[in-house]
Symmetry: D2
Subunit: 260 residues, 4 copies
């Protein structure tokens, strides 16, 4: 159908009930809208600003929940890994391994992910140019794995802001399918509180601009109660607003596909 | 029709023949596509990097050509002004006065433009936040002129690059209609040569993203022979590619208008 | 004596009494410390964020005060100009014409300043690279005036911050004597209030780093009562702290001069 | 003696002979100049831009050379670690564990380093504000280790440039002793070649400005033959230029110590 694909779910796997509840809702929407869907959830949060932030419910416990989501709804799943030893472990449970933006220059981690044979989703470093993502893609491909995506989550702009450089989308599409991470590109890092801020009212604007600029996929974190999510609540889309967003993006994508 | 409007023409008025030739072509397209059109041309280039760059054919001569374009094709015209004394002079010939981005903090210039009663198009300074454009808009409105537009031409990103921050579009639409300057937002300033560079292959990407993000207007410089234009050739759209671009943008805008 | 030189005074000339009071104090210090001194004061503030900000006491009135300072204390003076017609006017009263950072790309203004035969002090645009200041210097020199300085007042870093790039000092010293503007490089622009913020507690750090990096001059705004100054109070040095600052800088400069 | 301290050595341990040769030279200089010295060498390069870049001679082999340097010259040593399991291993051989800038948000790595009881040197992330380093320092201290340093290696400025923000030095000194990494702060990342560029002619300027701004230590990579070093040759100081640099910095530091 040449539709965009969707990577979506909560920031962190907080428990089985919440994961299944979110997945059920998004699976229902994406089935109806014919959007290829990958359920997203982190089994561990490894790079929180503060040492007292929530980091997870236990690695294996969270990974088993990801597998249960996959089996229950027949959807592929994605999770992020943080050190080379995570790669083989996570690959037993999920379909796509994601490399966090801060870690996308760590060669050992990329090679370990590539060697699992799973799809590897490389987050663009906040400190990297679109052009330099070619080298990261090469690290996967030269390890014998041709299934690699790039996800743009914005670029540092001063200390407390990020900007998405839409010029980079056509550039990076030369290397791999490109996903726009609408959630994290709206982050405002380095806040005095040690808690990353955000501007969730801009989710629609960013997602629409991404579709118009030709992205292959959209990444969006969602929760039925963002204000009580254990991480990244500042930018998550409320689950009950997902239908309207996706409906609009599908219409827009259809028009973009028809342009000459 | 709720279509976007278009500010377009050559960078500088190089002569009557070229101005009329460009206007005729764009007027034909915009009439057919029902795009409200304002013919753009600078009567003077006041801030070239180098002292030996082309600056114009003479102020009054260029302004008279702008008037001739207006009378010939029944379209409004826009030109940029550089010091307070320019405002009244230019206002005799054109319909919209544009404040260059470098000058948008110069209160006297803004007040002089406002006092002509013409529409004032404020370019967002490359050094200004979307939010701070509110103060510039206020300077026009508090001078008794309610007709003011904001045009975003990108924001400095390092020394040799600019980025359009699409988050700023909804912000600035709270203050005034917002135009995306596709041409100058692709500039690459501070090049070693003293000649500003560009990436014209990205014009389509930027314009589409702008329409999807909700801009009210598109600004795009065009020339039938960009390589021989006397200024800003690096980013101008070839005139014969304008039809395809506008056709696509009109389709996209129509879909954006239908989103819920 | 190979000391650094000092450009200092209030942001704006608010009246004769305050100008003379500040000049007397700084002249006393710089005489004793053998620092070549130029008294600084703006006769007009042309680019305030908000239309309701203080802009001056009257152009000619302020310029006459600058002349009185010069005659009273036998020191040269500097003021900034904003449009070409200001150049000849200001040149009748002061010794150095300063081009504001926002305006350093305006060719007509630079040429008008150059043609007065006065020293021209070019503020580096917040949007310019050190290397691109060569073109601005060339505009002065090619107008027949060889007396040109460059003053660095920081470079945009995100929307609400500026950074001084000390790598640029040796670069710009190839083109002209280089001054570090300690006051404005600590500005924090685009604040929500429309009033530029600052971090005056860092004046010592910046000035010392500048001397160590080899600047030829230091620019610093001062007032006996910064909290009640009519503009830029956020970053001005209290006059009674000037002695300690200059004493330290002279010692540091002497050591820097002795390095091999 | 209240002198600054020095972290210096080659980028990577390429072999025993080269390590001893560099250490011998620097130990001789720092003994004479009374500069506390820590020998620096990476046992592994984990985040090269390209997969075909040199990554090391073998972890244990390199660590044993670091121990040999320490025993031969009675100097402490520092090396960088990349995953939690590295911490205990490296701590058997060296005195200071360094966290690379890209990894300074990885909580597990910081905690593992802290738990060795060794001094931990945190490189400031290129994407972090000075203020946000407080949270990284807290992760070490709350793990029971009070010996922590911060090393500034510059902040992203656009895609292909870094700037040192000297305003951050007093800020970070509130949290821990601050070191200026003169070598890496002159890097120019994201070059088209996939090989990071540099501007080594600016080493003197940066180091002097750092001392004047009050840093506690200087980090500088050196090699007797930078052009043939296996990594980071673009910014390394030639070993035979070290004496002049350090001699100047010691003089400057002595003056800075005497300021009031």
């Amino acid at each position: 159908s040449n539709n965009f694909f969707l990577l979506s779910g909560p920031c962190a796997i907080e428990g089985e009930e919440m994961a299944l509840r979110i997945a059920e809702k998004v699976v229902g929407l994406t089935d109806r809208l014919k959007i290829p869907y990958v359920f997203k959830g982190s089994f561990k949060k490894a790079n929180r600003s503060r040492v007292d932030s929530f980091t997870g419910i236990g690695d294996e416990k969270a990974l088993k929940i990801l597998r249960k989501v996959s089996e229950t709804f027949k959807v592929p799943t994605i999770t992020d890994i943080h050190e080379p030893a995570d790669a083989a472990m996570a690959a037993e449970y999920v379909d796509v391994l994601q490399i966090p933006a801060f870690l996308v220059r760590q060669t050992d981690l990329l090679v370990a992910a590539a060697e699992t044979g799973k799809v590897v989703n490389l987050k663009k470093g906040q400190f990297m140019s679109p052009e330099s993502m070619k080298h990261a893609v090469n690290k996967i491909q030269e390890s014998g794995n041709k299934q690699v995506w790039i996800t743009d989550r914005g670029t540092m702009f001063g200390y407390q802001d990020m900007i998405v450089d839409f010029r980079g989308i056509p550039t990076m599409k030369q290397y791999a399918p490109v996903v726009l991470d609408v959630t994290h590109s709206l982050q405002q890092p380095n806040q005095a509180s040690g808690v990353t801020g955000g501007r969730p009212e801009l989710i629609n604007t960013m997602a629409r601009a991404g579709i118009a600029a030709g992205v292959d996929g959209i990444f969006i974190e969602t929760h039925f109660d963002p204000a009580n999510a254990k991480s990244d609540g500042a930018n998550m889309l409320a689950l009950d607003r997902m239908e309207q967003l996706l409906t609009n993006l599908v219409k827009l994508r259809s028009t973009v596909n028809s342009l000459v």
